[in-house]
């Protein structure tokens, strides 16, 4: 079993930056599709205002706020990597793809995440009023 896993990892030689980016894009993408469907399901509750408000109340609990931060992280990763991919598609920065990945996608993405997550953390979790 372990050998099967290690063989698989080797097969997809994850240590290259581009490959890591590929897996990030795949996994975050799938996660976001899943979230989108859940989200549509919640929105559908607009047909029943009471149920909708109840759902929103649940979602403002700190646990779900934490989840929202996680969602933000996923979105930022997917978006920043998406921008990088579009740059690649346009033929920009092809020779510097490792640097683009680490500095732009990961570096700038982390900065954006902190900027976005901090207010969510402070207002949604620390100062949460039930």
């Amino acid at each position: 079993m372990t050998s099967a896993i290690s063989l698989t990892i080797r097969k997809y030689s994850w240590k290259y930056a581009g490959n890591l980016a590929f897996w990030i894009q795949r996994l975050t993408g799938l996660g976001l599709v899943f979230y989108l469907i859940l989200h549509v399901h919640t929105i559908h509750d607009l047909r029943d205002p009471a149920k909708f408000d109840a759902a929103l109340a649940t979602f403002s609990k700190p646990f779900f706020k934490l989840g929202e931060i996680f969602l933000l992280a996923t979105v930022i990763l997917h978006a920043m990597n998406g921008i990088r991919l579009t740059m690649v598609d346009m033929g920009v920065g092809l020779t510097k793809q490792r640097q683009v990945f680490w500095y732009f996608t990961i570096g700038l993405g982390a900065a954006l995440l902190i900027a976005g997550a901090l207010p969510m953390f402070i207002y949604g979790i620390l100062r949460h009023q039930p």
Binding site: H44, R47, P49, G82, D89
Partner: protein, 132 residues
Amino acid sequence: MSARVINWYLQRVTGAALLFLLVLHFWVEHFTAEVRTPHGLTFAVIQQRFFHNPWFVAVDISFLIIALYHGLNGVRNIICDFSIVTKPMRNVVTVALILFGLGVAYWGIMAFVGNEHLNPLNPKGATVAAAR
């Protein structure tokens, strides 16, 4: 131009559009004056918006459709990356994903369209709005 080129191209275009829409979405649902109350976003806020500015719904619905296209196209790409998915199977996958996407889109759109609570002409819906 074949469907594959268009798909590839649209995936990029919709990606860019989603980036813009997402920022907008985040802003209106989390940071505008209406939602920065102790209650945050509620049904009433949405109803207000719906009555005063129908563009909210238009944007929301296009956001939904673009996101579904982008997401499900991505899922299709992942599935097609495996050679066990043969050509006839790929067509089945495509059709299945389109149907699924249409279903989700219908489910989402139905939240606004034909929703009696969001119909200004419906006395019951209007009452709720006036109560706030």
